[in-house]
């Protein structure tokens, strides 16, 4: 516990020493990382590098959600997997590697795609969520669940030579509290037409492009946790008792979107986003999305996004 004289083991001081000595982390930040439970949804091109750096940094518990198995066409960008794990579940393949990198981290496999029926139950056990999936249906589902449960969400996407990154629901205030960060529906209230949705399989993807976005997701998550924006160690554990300390966790920058385009000059662009939307279906005082409506399947994320194939696209 953080009250002991030596709150970390000798091995932990040695392993995390290079980040412990940073003022932005420090012992307090490392203890917050150690007590944090982080969920990575999707163990593909984004989730692989994100998970590697989160496990390297010593988050206490990392959950991994994916129902797919490793294919050879994944390996140019999904660097936790290997030729030997082709055909094996991505979650199990990732656990193999991550356990080798840092066995101090408690790894929790969730060997199926997230569904409206499972999302709330799974996400409720975690303190922060990374959306590393590859379809709008899952992006709306994960955002809605994070708003309902008061979890910060680090969302990224990539296609061809471009990537996008947003930190959503930070600070993670309850629906109706305008001081909370915007959610995915605040930014994109209506889903895109199905014919405009292009997957990496169809459109192609350059490995380091999605890799950069995944590493940046790990970074944003570490910043959120180390700064005390969500602090399991200090709080009573209730979702909405998350808080920052004025002197350690500066108010998060106004919400922003990072755009990356590998062949443009300059390659990175930061854009200011709107605050919460006063009539957001998910995070506003007029929210219509509830735990019951989400879990019951009445929201029908698949039809909402105009997709006719089953929801097995995470």
């Amino acid at each position: 516990s953080s009250k002991d004289k030596w709150p970390l083991s000798t091995e932990e001081y040695r392993r995390y020493g290079r980040q412990l000595i940073l003022p932005e982390v420090g012992l307090q930040g490392q203890l917050r990382l150690k007590s944090a439970k982080v969920l990575v949804v999707g163990v593909g091109g984004l989730g692989c590098p994100a998970a590697a750096y989160l496990v390297g940094a010593g988050v206490g518990t990392l959950g991994l959600v994916d129902g797919d198995t490793v294919e050879v066409s994944n390996l140019h960008r999904q660097i936790l997997h290997s030729t030997n794990t082709i055909g094996i579940g991505k979650v199990d393949s990732a656990v193999d590697y991550l356990n080798g990198l840092n066995s101090l981290v408690n790894l929790i496999p969730h060997r199926a795609h997230l569904t409206p029926q499972t999302a709330l139950e799974i996400i409720s056990s975690y303190d922060a969520v990374l959306d590393c999936t590859d379809h709008p249906t899952s992006r709306y589902l994960i955002s809605d669940a994070c708003v309902l449960l008061g979890k910060p969400l680090v969302s990224a996407s990539a296609l061809r030579t471009e990537g996008q990154l947003m930190v959503l629901n930070v600070p993670p205030k309850p629906p109706g509290d305008a001081s909370g960060g915007p959610c995915y529906r605040c930014i994109f209230p209506k889903p895109p037409p199905a014919e405009s949705v292009v997957s990496c399989g169809e459109g192609g993807i350059l490995g380091p492009v999605v890799g950069v976005m995944g590493v940046l997701q790990a970074l944003e998550t570490i910043k959120i946790i180390a700064s005390g924006t969500v602090d399991r160690a200090d709080s009573t554990g209730k979702s909405f008792e998350t808080h920052g300390k004025a002197n350690e966790a500066p108010a998060p920058a106004s919400p922003s979107l990072l755009l990356f385009s590998a062949f443009s000059s300059p390659p990175f662009r930061s854009v200011r986003l709107r605050p919460r939307r006063a009539n957001c279906a998910s995070c506003s005082a007029q929210a219509t999305i509830t735990e019951a409506s989400l879990t019951s399947g009445s929201l029908d994320y698949v039809a909402f996004c105009g997709v006719t194939s089953p929801l097995d696209t995470l």
Partner: protein
């Protein structure tokens, strides 16, 4: 600097996230559009979008850019590096050399 009586307003327009495929596969465009509407009001971002549909888009699938008189869902419009919802959306009055970016959200991972 010079508040010219010019009939047109110079703008930098950029398309990303795949939208450039609708515009000759070119991301950055330097354009000039009429500075006033026919009724004499200054041109706004809504007018720019109409102008782009009439003059710049090359792909016949205009519904991939505009639906129901606005940009289709899944496209963010950025005015000088801010979400247009912070600037008045389509009612924002264009200023010379404004930088307007149209971004299609990506979903891959």
């Amino acid at each position: 600097m010079t508040e010219a009586k010019a009939a047109s307003i110079p703008l930098a327009v950029e398309f990303t996230g795949g939208l450039e495929l609708l515009f000759s596969n070119q991301r950055k465009h330097k354009i000039a559009i009429p500075s006033k509407k026919p009724d004499g009001e200054p041109s706004n971002v809504g007018d720019l979008i109409s102008w782009l549909c009439d003059n710049l888009i090359k792909d016949p699938r205009k519904e991939m850019f505009v639906l129901d008189d606005s940009v289709r869902p899944g496209i963010l419009v950025l005015i000088n590096d801010a979400d247009w919802e912070l600037e008045g959306e389509d009612k924002y009055e264009l200023q010379p050399n404004d930088e307007i970016v149209f971004v299609s959200t990506l979903h891959g991972g």
